[in-house]
């Protein structure tokens, strides 16, 4: 009779491949993740993109500089203002356009409000990926208030095209400041509810703590930026390192956590919301008066050369690399989007975890699919 003892290697089960996406509740868009599973354990993760590839970089080559800005709102639609901002900054830098002080302040307020909306939506969808549905509605309630403010002042709710080279498209309404003050007050109250419902929750803490470890070395090697990298202890806040539009005059902290796990990423984003509120509060009381934009010529031409501009988007470093040949259209416009490089972190932090952790990891990295696909 043969030896009846079975060694663990013989007990190995068959691995199988599951396509998570492109239509899947947890991918928030059309990302397809090809996951190789051994039972519940993830062995390999391979993301597939391109389901919402619109060729924005190619389209900019046939549009003017001013018109390219409206395309950038469609990249990371959750931080459209910031996307417009980076483009406007790059063009202003190249064409040496002065921006009035009022426009700079409005831009920063809009950016930070946008960061708040983005993080609020992230908070809701992160909780939903982990299985709680109610937070999603709380998040949308609070986001809605800010979007209403955007609607009143910029005209649009999601894809604003509000920040343009030379300033902003139109001045804010006269009741902007009092409304924003009331809004900030209510947001502060709502933040407590977030902590009550999710942050303090025992199940949520156990689902995130110690899961999805991304070491600092890995974060650097993978090119991660934003809250994802800052949760691994990497200082990379563009607002601090390469200040633009007057961030250097404002008092705020760069939020860094050394936990490296999902919980650290969660905490960093939650604290960033507080910092955003703090930044807006500083600007509200002394919003500069004066002109809100510098009038430009109808057709904008940049001097030949190469320009790189970066800003801190809600997800990390958003850069635009413009190659100009001196004409009215960009020769090449490359967007360095934060989600595309952060996507690389999904595999190293998910291998060896359970399939439920993959969803939690993707949620805390905060992937926005159009931002990757462009």
């Amino acid at each position: 009779m043969e030896n009846p003892i079975v060694t663990p290697s013989e007990l190995k089960t068959e691995e199988f491949v599951v396509n998570i996406g492109p239509q899947h509740p947890a991918t928030h868009g059309v990302l397809r993740v090809e996951a190789t599973l051994d039972g519940e354990i993830i062995k390999d993760v391979l993301p597939h993109l391109g389901y919402i590839h619109r060729g924005i970089e190619k389209m900019t080559e046939s549009l003017g500089y001013k018109q390219s800005i409206f395309l950038t709102s469609r990249m990371d639609y959750l931080s459209a203002h910031i996307n417009n901002h980076v483009c406007a900054l790059a063009i202003e830098k190249a064409a040496q356009i002065e921006v009035p002080a009022r426009a700079k302040a409005i831009r920063i307020i809009m950016d930070e409000l946008q960061r708040l909306t983005s993080h609020e939506l992230w908070w809701g969808s992160c909780a939903m990926d982990i299985g709680a549905v109610t937070p999603f509605f709380l998040a949308f309630r609070d986001r809605e208030r800010i979007l209403e403010l955007f609607e009143q002042n910029t005209g649009n709710r999601l894809t604003m095209s509000y920040i343009i080279p030379g300033g902003v498209m139109n001045d804010v309404r006269p009741d902007f400041v009092p409304k924003l003050k009331a809004l900030i007050k209510s947001i502060k109250e709502y933040r407590k509810e977030y902590d009550q419902l999710i942050t303090g929750n025992f199940i949520f803490q156990h689902r995130t703590q110690g899961i999805g470890i991304l070491s600092k070395e890995q974060a650097i090697s993978l090119g991660c930026t934003g809250p994802t990298a800052r949760a691994s202890g990497l200082s990379c806040d563009i607002r601090k390192l390469y200040p633009y539009d007057g961030y250097e005059k404002l008092d705020f902290k760069e939020v860094i956590d050394y936990g490296c796990d999902n919980w650290a990423r969660y905490v960093v984003r939650m604290e960033e919301m507080n910092q955003s509120i703090h930044i807006i509060e500083q600007l509200l009381d002394n919003l500069p008066t004066g002109d809100y934009r510098t009038k430009l010529k109808g057709v904008l031409k940049l001097p030949a050369g190469e320009y790189y501009q970066r800003v801190e988007s809600a997800r990390g470093e958003l850069g635009v690399y413009i190659v100009s040949d001196g004409g009215a259209k960009p020769y090449r416009m490359k967007f360095r989007t934060p989600c595309y490089s952060n996507l690389g972190a999904v595999k190293p932090i998910s291998v060896g975890m359970k399939i439920a952790d993959l969803m939690a990891n993707m949620a805390t990295i905060d992937l926005v699919i159009p931002d990757m696909d462009r």
């Binding site: 894809t159 498209m169 199940i203």
Partner: protein, 167 residues
């Protein structure tokens, strides 16, 4: 003993944290009149909460005399990133025999418009504006191509400084 204490502490923390969340949802459940924030959308068409500044459909402003301000300069057409504007102009002869370009058709392709406000920004005459209409869907695609200048409308004449004719 320490382990037992920690074990019990963890269980107690778990219950307290879960009860915290339960209290919040219960608060929302028992006070729906305070917490519910949804809009009663199809029923309150008469009084929607849409800001006046909301950038919806583009219109050509006509005054009470059926006059608009468009000089058919096509700047909006050039500014539009999506080619959703087509200005068709025609040559007419004025009374004093000069040829003049006037607007024939202001064609607006709503289906291609992304509401980026570039045309409004480009217009030197402030002839166009965006309304805050938001119910733009329709059953027939062809109805989305609109001609914005009303039939019979004409260019608003600027109040002329009448030059004194030397006699």
């Amino acid at each position: 003993m320490k382990a037992l204490y920690n074990y019990l502490k963890e269980v107690a923390f778990a219950f307290v944290s879960l009860a915290n969340g339960l209290l919040l949802t219960l608060k929302y459940f028992v006070t729906p009149w305070k917490s519910i924030i949804t809009e009663n959308y199809p029923d309150n068409r008469a009084n929607p909460s849409v800001a006046d500044e909301f950038a919806g459909e583009v219109i050509l402003i006509h005054d009470e005399n059926n006059e608009h301000k468009c000089t058919a300069c096509t700047l909006c057409q050039l500014a539009c990133p999506n080619n959703s504007i087509q200005i068709i102009s025609k040559q007419v002869e004025t009374e004093d025999g000069k040829k003049k370009k006037v607007l024939d058709k202001w064609v607006y392709h709503l289906e291609m418009c992304t509401f980026c406000k570039q045309c409004i920004d480009a217009c030197p005459q402030d002839a166009i504006k965006m309304t805050n209409s938001y119910e733009l869907s329709c059953f027939d695609r062809s109805t989305l191509t609109k001609i914005l200048n009303q039939p019979g409308s004409k260019l608003k004449e600027k109040p002329k400084v009448t030059a004194k004719v030397q006699e």
